[in-house]
């Protein structure tokens, strides 16, 4: 049973407010190791500097979008096995299909509550303690 406190998570979103909201929600669930990146490229830089256990990324971002990041993660020797949850808008069916093909672990529709976020993480990583 993974312990939320021990999980190192990276939140990727170009919107500071949304990123902070996600951080607050994660903290509510019990996460303590939260890194942030503004877009895919920065996320990859962070990912190559420290170990990560989970990536939660928005889709629509400048520089490198969520799908690009997902593919980059899956193609990187070090982080390729890191679970990846994609944040999407309502009704973005095609995106989910594409993300699934690229190896996403789960998706989450914005806006979300702490309990949905927890549920989505648990579906991937197992029950959180």
């Amino acid at each position: 049973m993974p312990n939320a406190v021990a999980i190192k998570v990276l939140v990727v979103d170009d919107q500071n407010s949304v990123r902070q909201m996600t951080r607050m929600t994660l903290e509510e669930i019990g996460f303590r190791h939260i890194h942030e990146a503004e877009h895919g490229r920065q996320a990859m830089e962070i990912a190559s500097l420290q170990p990560l256990d989970l990536i939660i990324s928005d889709y629509n971002m400048p520089e490198m979008d969520g799908l690009g990041l997902l593919r980059a993660v899956r193609g990187h020797p070090v982080v390729r096995k890191v679970p990846f949850i994609l944040l999407t808008g309502r009704g973005d069916k095609e995106l989910v299909v594409k993300a699934a093909q690229a190896g996403v672990n789960n998706y989450l529709i914005k806006p979300f509550t702490a309990s949905t976020l927890r549920e989505k993480i648990e579906q991937v990583m197992g029950k959180l303690s």
């Binding site: 990859m44 593919r71 193609g75 020797p77 690229a102 806006p111």
Partner: protein, 729 residues
């Protein structure tokens, strides 16, 4: 942890940026400069507003942004063409969106039906788009993802440690790993690889430092360290190779199995029994392909996708993004104030150094020079922190022009140049109203109706050009239209009616133009909805003067009008000339001084009713005694000992201010006195000098007005050309 309110604040700041991006992008597209980047940026802007609004619970905003986004998505995909009609709808949608953001920010209730017209238009476009697309896709898009069969892909987040203690299956490898420079260039971190290697078993490594150069010769992007050691593991050779899979070409790697032969037999047996498992692991190697029923060949796609992405991730163009920090304005203002205090303290120090006996102050004044230099740089850096591009004011104008042109049924195009020109935010804040007013005037009075324009042989679409640039320590903002210009006869007639101009005075066009900035002047024959309510250009002028700016106007009948605003870059600290008249010390803004001179007596001609005229390089410049203007006694009288400061009070007005003494140039901190004492004509503000005394900062423009109105200066006109005329007479 940030509070929810702070986050909302951040969100609204982001909205402002996004709205600006949306508006600018749509305008570009409408003008025919569409590109994928622009369309994407606009889409992303609306998407961000929608996303954030959803999270913070602004439902009205989400609803509208969604429809807006749907249409933009059509444009982005190319299923919708950006016809002028569509673009007009999109532009008005950006206005509605901006209003909704504003309402959400202030907590104002959104009136039922607000923006419905625009929304319907958007929905109509989206509907058309959907109909067109129906042939390809007959199922309507589901509101949610219920329609797809997505199973979350569970994953063990803790890497399964291979049980190295199972000594029976342990194999040992001797490993030599020497990264090459290319490896770092492709942003692969050697340390990471070693960590992953350690996960396979017991790793015993020694870092080899023999290649490490002296610190001075060290190149940051060169891997000098290499490793040798052994790995005790239950993993297969293939698993070890996998760790190095992505770097194998960019390093010297040697992996030699050193497992004692006696152990190998057992290992072989175990390996063979485990073979299916291992093989399976290889197939699932990118084990992340979800169980997605839509796509059977998912694993294969994932593999090729991974390959491409690996290339992308290694792209050498990757560079760290410019980082920014948001700082509360208050904190910066505190630094600005401290710099101000520092400037004062430094001036005091300078004063003391000057008073020291000759020969003792050498080193001290040298150091002081340095301090002055640093303070100036400190001031400049702090000011640049407060600086903002004028674009933040300009961005409101396109919407204004759009709305006005609809109301007046005129066709107007707004060109904007130099939006990135930076100026202190205190100026920015006070620039919005005057600019709005001037542009309103231009559309309402300046630009003619399409029919009139065609009749006059002009393009039926009028142009207003809004530009900003730095010029000589000031920022110059110009609003130029190609409308009808000022109707001189009408203005003059009105001015005579109001008694602003004598019945027999002859005025040039520019002089007449400046009349419209006199208080209470409005020529609009009918008070329209847009302008002409009596609050006219005089308010604009006083607004601009309040922030130390100058306004000037040029009009050409039938060709258009240009209004120029020259503004100081900052309101906090300025360069000033310290002057003395009688017992009083004043500071004059350096920016309004053209030159200082001590004229020969023969150059001054005394004319009745004036304080004298100075002949300066063939030109006559009226002289004004500062002492007379401010009603204080001066030592100078009209003797040749006094100093004349030639000043430029804007609108081409030049006059010579006679003062007793120049004390030197220094930076002064501007302290407003208006809050405590009200406005004093001729005095702009106060400052504290090096000796701790308060000195007034002169308002040169007001002084020139005072000079005109004073008995001595009665003959002096506000215009240089008439000055020359007068001199000739």
């Amino acid at each position: 942890m940030a509070s929810l309110d702070q986050l909302k604040q951040t969100f609204f700041e982001e909205c402002d940026e996004a709205l600006q991006q949306i508006e600018a992008g749509l305008t570009e597209i409408r003008e025919g400069h569409a590109s994928d980047d622009i369309v994407n940026a606009v889409f992303r802007g609306v998407h961000s507003v929608k996303g954030g609004a959803g999270i913070f619970g602004f439902e009205a905003l989400v609803g509208f942004a969604h429809v807006f986004e749907t249409v933009l998505d059509g444009v982005r995909r190319g299923s919708l063409t950006a016809t002028p009609e569509t673009m007009d709808v999109l532009l008005s949608a950006s206005d509605v969106l901006s209003d909704l953001v504003q309402m959400s920010r202030t907590g104002e209730a959104v009136a039922p039906g607000f923006g419905n017209e625009c929304r319907t238009a958007l929905e109509h476009i989206a509907e058309q788009d959907r109909k067109d697309a129906e042939e390809d896709d007959d199922s309507p898009a589901p509101a949610d993802f219920d329609g797809i069969d997505f199973t979350p892909v569970p994953m063990d987040f803790t890497p399964v440690p291979v049980d190295a203690d199972a000594a029976d299956v342990s194999r040992s490898f001797a490993i030599t790993f020497r990264p090459k420079r290319e490896m770092l260039k492709k942003s692969n971190e050697p340390l990471y690889i070693l960590r992953n290697l350690r996960k396979l078993g017991t790793l015993d490594l020694v870092a080899q430092l023999d290649c490490l150069p002296a610190l001075a010769d060290l190149e940051a992007d060169h891997p000098y360290i290499w490793w040798t050691g052994t790995l005790q593991t239950a993993a297969t050779r293939a698993q070890i190779d996998e760790v190095f899979e992505f770097v194998v070409d960019d390093c010297d790697l040697e992996i030699i199995e050193t497992t004692p032969a006696s152990d190998l037999a057992g290992v072989q047996e175990i390996v063979s029994t485990h073979a299916p498992a291992i093989e399976e692991q290889h197939i699932v190697a990118p084990p992340l392909a979800p169980e997605l029923h839509v796509e059977k060949a998912a694993p294969a796609t994932a593999v090729s996708g991974a390959g491409e992405a690996a290339g992308a991730a290694r792209s050498p163009t990757a560079k760290p993004a410019a980082t920014t920090t948001r700082i509360e304005l208050e904190r910066i203002d505190r630094v600005v104030n401290m710099v101000g205090e520092l400037v004062i303290a430094q001036a005091m120090l300078g004063q003391i150094v000057q008073e020291l006996p000759e020969g003792t102050s050498g080193r001290l004044s040298q150091i002081l020079e340095e301090v002055i230099h640093h303070t100036r740089e400190l001031k400049d850096s702090v000011m640049s922190m407060r600086a903002q591009p004028v674009g933040s004011v300009f961005q409101r104008m396109p919407r204004l022009v759009r709305e006005l042109s609809t109301k007046t049924a005129k066709k107007v195009r707004l060109e904007m140049v130099g939006e990135t020109t930076e100026v202190d935010r205190s100026i920015i804040e006070r620039l919005g109203d005057p600019l709005t007013h001037i542009i309103r005037n231009s559309v309402d009075h300046g630009i003619e109706s399409p029919a009139d324009r065609l009749a006059a042989g002009k393009n039926e679409e009028g142009t207003i050009r809004l530009s900003a640039e730095h010029r000589g320590g000031r920022i110059v903002i110009e609003i130029k239209d190609d409308g009808a210009g000022i109707n001189s006869e009408r203005v003059l007639k009105k001015a005579r009616e109001k008694g602003l101009v004598g019945a027999d005075a002859t005025l040039t066009d520019d002089e007449i133009g400046n009349l419209i900035m006199l208080p209470g002047f409005s020529t609009a024959e009918s008070v329209s909805d847009i302008s002409g309510r009596g609050v006219g250009m005089d308010v604009v002028r006083s607004n601009i003067q309040d922030i130390g700016g100058r306004i000037s106007l040029k009009s050409e009948r039938g060709r258009g009008m240009t209004i120029q605003l020259a503004l100081p870059l900052t309101l906090a600290v300025m360069d000033g000339m310290v002057i003395k008249t009688g017992q009083q010390t004043y500071v004059m803004p350096l920016s309004s001084i053209v030159e200082c001179l001590r004229p020969a007596r023969s150059d001054i001609s005394n004319l009745i009713g004036t304080s004298g005229m100075l002949q300066l390089r063939g030109e006559f410049v009226p002289l004004v005694q500062l002492g007379d203007l401010l009603e204080i006694s001066s030592n100078a009288g009209d003797s040749g000992d006094s100093v004349v400061i030639i000043t430029d009070a804007g609108e081409g007005t030049r006059f010579g201010l006679v003062v007793d003494e120049l004390c030197g140039h220094q930076q002064v901190v501007i302290k407003s006195i208006e809050e405590s004492y009200g406005a004093v004509p001729g005095i702009a503000a106060a400052t504290i000098l090096g000796n701790g005394r308060v000195a007034f900062i002169l308002d040169v423009e007001k002084l020139s007005e005072l000079a005109v109105n004073s008995p001595a200066g009665a003959a002096m006109s506000t215009n240089a050309t008439s000055t020359a005329k007068f001199a000739v007479n």
